[in-house]
């Protein structure tokens, strides 16, 4: 009877094991089937991934393709055009040499930080991460990024972009590309209302009022309570002369009050707290919104989805000074990974030719000032963003930036939803920030 007990236990285990054993092979078939089946560009993107599954076991170092070392990249762009462009560069790179085989993996933005945190705990990270610039400092503090000082010439890069990946004078990353926010406006709507593009807050308020009708709101800016919302709010804050850490000042309160007035006057929808930048863009091209704050990466999509829409871009109207926020991603090399291969790829990807290709496809501006200034024609819709970049400042860099950003985004959400006055919201945020930045 004893043995029967053991047998029944073993049987249960065997079934479980059988279930598991079946999967390795079927996973493989699926991959190959996919590469064979699809003949379009999509398949091309995935073919390196299909060659790689062997490495998902323990054998990451032995690459499948003829002794080449596998190098992995994580990125979070969900836009198809971005993914295709990046994969194109990777394909070219893989074809250009035989030492390394680069693969890029998409990790959704909402999951990116979590995956990096967990990966860091488990020592299971990619070799290169392409991450949002304000988070860079936190991961440097985590100690997972390789010191790249002296390995890349970033002398001609925008200072803010370089600062975002510099900690204590050491360079821990290379800017991928930069962007900033500016004001888009619907030309036809402005013409109809007989208005010019606004340049100051007062003009903006006036124009927005004139543009608001039953079905159109004057202005939209993404105000989601997270980093994305903070990104869209800080230009207004900085325009008053306040910095990220002095929202409690008179200037900070003025910025919050302005946002509050926009909502109270009905020229900005409260729904903005649920609209991502993509949603804001969709509202703009659907003609529900006359002006929006947004970035240059929307331009390719807008041109494709609404080719007949007449819109223009101008500087974000100012309070006391023009101001915008520097966005974009940085490359970072993970230490302990395949550093040599990662550096080799980065050298390739940051060459002028590749940068131009990527920036063009992404709707980004090169982080290299020298390239950026000649990147666009004078009448290109991107050109205003290049001008706006002169006024753009980075967030942080600060390891605790996520907490500072959290306090700021809470403040403007309180004001927009009317749950606190600008004064109270500013004071509360200031108290939180003072607790973080001593």
């Amino acid at each position: 009877m004893k043995s029967k007990k053991v047998i029944s236990l073993l049987a249960a285990l065997a079934i479980t094991a059988g279930l598991m054993a079946g999967c390795g092979s079927s996973g493989q078939t699926e991959n190959t089937a996919n590469t064979e089946g699809a003949a379009d560009q999509e398949a091309q993107e995935e073919s390196p991934a299909a060659e790689e599954p062997a490495s998902e076991e323990a054998t990451t170092d032995e690459a499948a393709a003829g002794g080449a070392e596998a190098v992995t990249i994580w990125y979070y762009w969900e836009t198809e055009g971005h993914q295709v462009a990046l994969d194109q560069v990777i394909q070219d790179y893989n074809a250009s040499q035989g030492n390394y085989q680069v693969t890029a993996k998409y990790v959704p933005f909402a999951d990116f930080k979590k995956q990096l945190s967990i990966g860091a705990s488990a020592d299971e990270l990619p070799d290169i991460a392409i991450l949002d610039s304000p988070d860079h400092a936190s991961y440097v503090e985590m100690g997972i990024f390789e010191d790249l000082t002296g390995k890349f010439d970033v002398g001609s890069y925008y200072e803010g972009a370089v600062n975002s990946c510099t900690v204590d004078g050491k360079l821990y990353g290379v800017p991928f590309g930069v962007n900033c926010l500016a004001l888009y406006y619907n030309e036809d709507m402005l013409k109809e209302a007989g208005r010019e593009a606004p340049t100051t807050w007062d003009e903006l308020m006036d124009t927005a009022k004139a543009l608001t009708t039953d079905s159109v709101t004057g202005l939209a800016l993404c105000s989601v309570q997270n980093e994305e919302g903070t990104f869209n709010f800080v230009p207004w804050l900085w325009s008053t002369g306040a910095d990220s850490y002095s929202i409690g000042s008179e200037n900070g309160i003025r910025a919050l009050t302005f946002i509050q007035n926009l909502v109270n006057e009905g020229v900005m929808s409260k729904e903005c707290i649920n609209w991502t930048q993509g949603d804001v863009m969709n509202q703009f091209i659907a003609g529900n919104v006359a002006m929006m704050e947004n970035g240059p990466w929307q331009i390719p999509t807008m041109q494709k989805e609404a080719p007949d829409l007449n819109w223009k871009v101008t500087l974000i109207p100012k309070d006391s000074q023009y101001s915008s926020v520097l966005g974009g991603e940085n490359y970072a090399v993970i230490n302990g990974g395949k550093v040599e291969g990662a550096l080799d790829f980065l050298t390739y990807a940051t060459s002028e030719e590749k940068v131009k290709f990527l920036m063009d496809k992404f709707g980004y501006i090169s982080a290299d000032k020298a390239i950026a200034e000649s990147q666009f024609e004078a009448d290109s819709p991107y050109q205003p963003f290049v001008e706006e970049l002169n006024y753009a400042m980075p967030r942080g860099p600060l390891a605790e930036w996520p907490s500072v950003s959290d306090a700021i985004s809470l403040a403007f959400n309180q004001v927009i939803t009317g749950t606190a006055t600008p004064e109270d919201a500013a004071a509360e945020a200031q108290a939180t920030i003072d607790g973080i930045v001593k």
């Binding site: 985590m142 729904e271 809470l410």
Partner: protein
Amino acid sequence: MGKVKKMFRYDNAGVLFVLPAFIYMLVFVGYPIIRNIILSFQDVSAGNLVRGVKNFIFFDNYLELFQDSVFRTSLFNTLRYTVLCLVFQFVIGFALALFFNRRFSFAKPVRGILLVPWMIPVTVTALMFKLLFATDIGVINYILRSFHLINKNIEWLTTPQTAMFALICANVWIGIPFNMILISTGLTTIPKELYESASIDGANKTQTFFSITLPLLKPTIESVLILGFIYTFKVYDLVYVMTSGGPVNSTHMLSTYSYKLSFEMFKYSKGSAVANVLLVILLVVGVFYIKATTKGEEA
């Protein structure tokens, strides 16, 4: 084998049946629990997650939490949300169970189809309700407008009070079938003769409901409420997709706040502490459940 008198026997061989499942859960869930407890007593943030010293600061994280207004809101929200969801889904589920207990031709098939909401992935449910509660295009606002109950669209998901209401609606929608079907089951176990003799004694429907139905359903009701409590209390996906804890943190729950601290703000230890508070509350409820359901068993 000796004679057995009871429905069960005292025999440690029973352990062997339970052990495989128990070990499986111990491996995959036991370790996380222990790790989480340790983490909550340390000071782990971005700086020392991978390297560097992890200091034990014991209860400092917990003390800090109770100073934290978002934590207090989350705790209060979680309780309020759970209680309100339970009340509504229980009452509606109970009423439907009573209704479907009458044997009309459609009773069985319709009751069956009513289970569907419970089977849909929660993320999908959250998406659907986000659409229903949208301000401008939301059909709920339209219906209220057409009945002249409101004359201006309600901004459901961007106003703290109504956002919570929308979340509760979505969760009640998922919970109604669960409650309905379990109470239906309980109802079928009540012997018909009891009702017959009650009607001979001249009792009316309300009287029989309170003197027969409710008392005999007590064990079912206990189980339904406690299982419902556990499933509702740790809500995560629904809130994450519908409101992400907003507007202005007004719909943060313990689970979403713990997630935010751990994975968005790099405050790993503090996030663990929040999770532990949640766990302790559920544990108390769990012990209560075990007590209630094993009462009367000889153990």
